[in-house]
Symmetry: C2
Subunit: 190 residues, 2 copies
């Protein structure tokens, strides 16, 4: 039996998974497989092909999100290669028992953790370190016309963001929708 | 017409390509697509699917390579997310007019450059900064039994590595083969 070189742990949202890779250290530094199509499918049961990789850098206090793509939903496999962020997913599937619930995980360059966020969830993160470099793979291309923002601080979602000052947001994210007004994923979308 | 958000430039080895993405900066930091399956194929003419992503960290003076996988050759799309390296590809295709020739490119977190190294080439890099984090996507899985090392300093290849002291090598890389003894890619391999 082939043993995959990472662990998989479910979060409070059972479809949102934390992956923790095995890192091989030696005198030169380290090496790890940050993605392996065969192992990812074997260990998570998730059958997808990833079509896009994105890379962003943000300064401390920046909050990006909570974003989602309606109609052309994106599954996302996210990780941090510099710094630390609090990474959040919110279930927006209309017929889910967890609709409106969130989960949050600390992702850092040190813990090498990855979060798998399937289609049907909004996603965002707050930068906790001086700066952070954030990488993610997506199962669907970017379709700006289908992009939506759920506002980060809706009391009905009540995300327990770590201690922070006023976050730095893009204009579109300040103007994000409340859960009650947000477009939801209907069964046929995802 | 869709304009891809990166430039593509051939090197001295015409199949080895430098990609330079467009980076979108704003008050929060930056964003760029580090890989887009549709754009990559449209801009390079290279039709491949990538199955594995790797991530290594190395300290200054480390030289990894020159590696290749015989029989199950890997095409590689490589980049740096921290630090700077001198990245090298050597043509090992027996029937190539460029057999034994090399090309080298500076890849850094600052220039965001990527190198596409098709199947049929050996690949390696020397770390020029205090440390470097190196990411690469491959078109084939890792098959340790098919791994080979071409030695980094064969005078018949004569790679003009940047000024450096004695490089730090893994044992298997110290014991790499000379070009004249190295397994080559025959037409049926790639
Ligand atoms: C998302 C995206 C943006 N862009 C461009 C548009 C802008 O010029 C620039 C920045 O875009 P923004 O949407 O402001 O970046 P952003 O980092 O705020 O957006 C991201 O936030 C994450 C929380 C989500 O998981 C992602 O899916 C994405 O929405 O990059 C692309 O070219 N391709 C893409 O895939
Ligand atoms: C290449 C590889 C290594 N490993 C493991 C084996 C070792 O325990 C550890 C380090 O392996 P090494 O071969 O010493 O790493 P390395 O960084 O020296 O090897 C790499 O060098 C680049 C120049 C090449 O382009 C790559 O294709 C690869 O050969 O990681 C994997 O698990 N998967 C892989 O795909």
């Amino acid at each position: 039996m082939h043993i995959v070189p990472f662990t998989v742990t479910a979060t409070e949202l059972p479809e949102v998974l934390v992956l923790e890779p095995k890192v091989y250290g030696d005198a030169r530094g380290f090496f790890f497989e940050s993605f392996n199509a065969r192992d990812f499918e074997a260990a998570t049961g998730v059958k997808r092909s990833f079509v896009q990789d994105n890379h962003s850098r943000s300064v401390k206090g920046v909050l990006r999100g909570l974003h989602y793509q309606i109609q052309k939903p994106q599954g996302k496999l996210v990780r941090v290669v510099e710094g630390e962020v609090f990474d959040v997913a919110v279930d927006l599937r209309a017929n889910s028992p967890k609709f409106g619930s969130w989960t949050g995980v600390l992702l850092s360059a040190e813990n090498h953790r990855q979060l798998w966020i399937p289609e049907g969830f909004a996603h965002g993160f707050l930068v906790l370190s001086e700066s952070a470099e954030f990488l993610y793979k997506t199962t669907e291309f970017w379709h700006p016309e289908h992009e939506r923002t759920l506002v980060w601080n809706d009391p009905d979602v009540a995300i327990a963001w770590p201690e922070h000052g006023e976050p730095q947001l893009a204009a579109k994210d300040k103007a994000g929708a409340l859960l009650k007004d947000a477009d939801r994923f209907e069964a046929e979308d995802s």
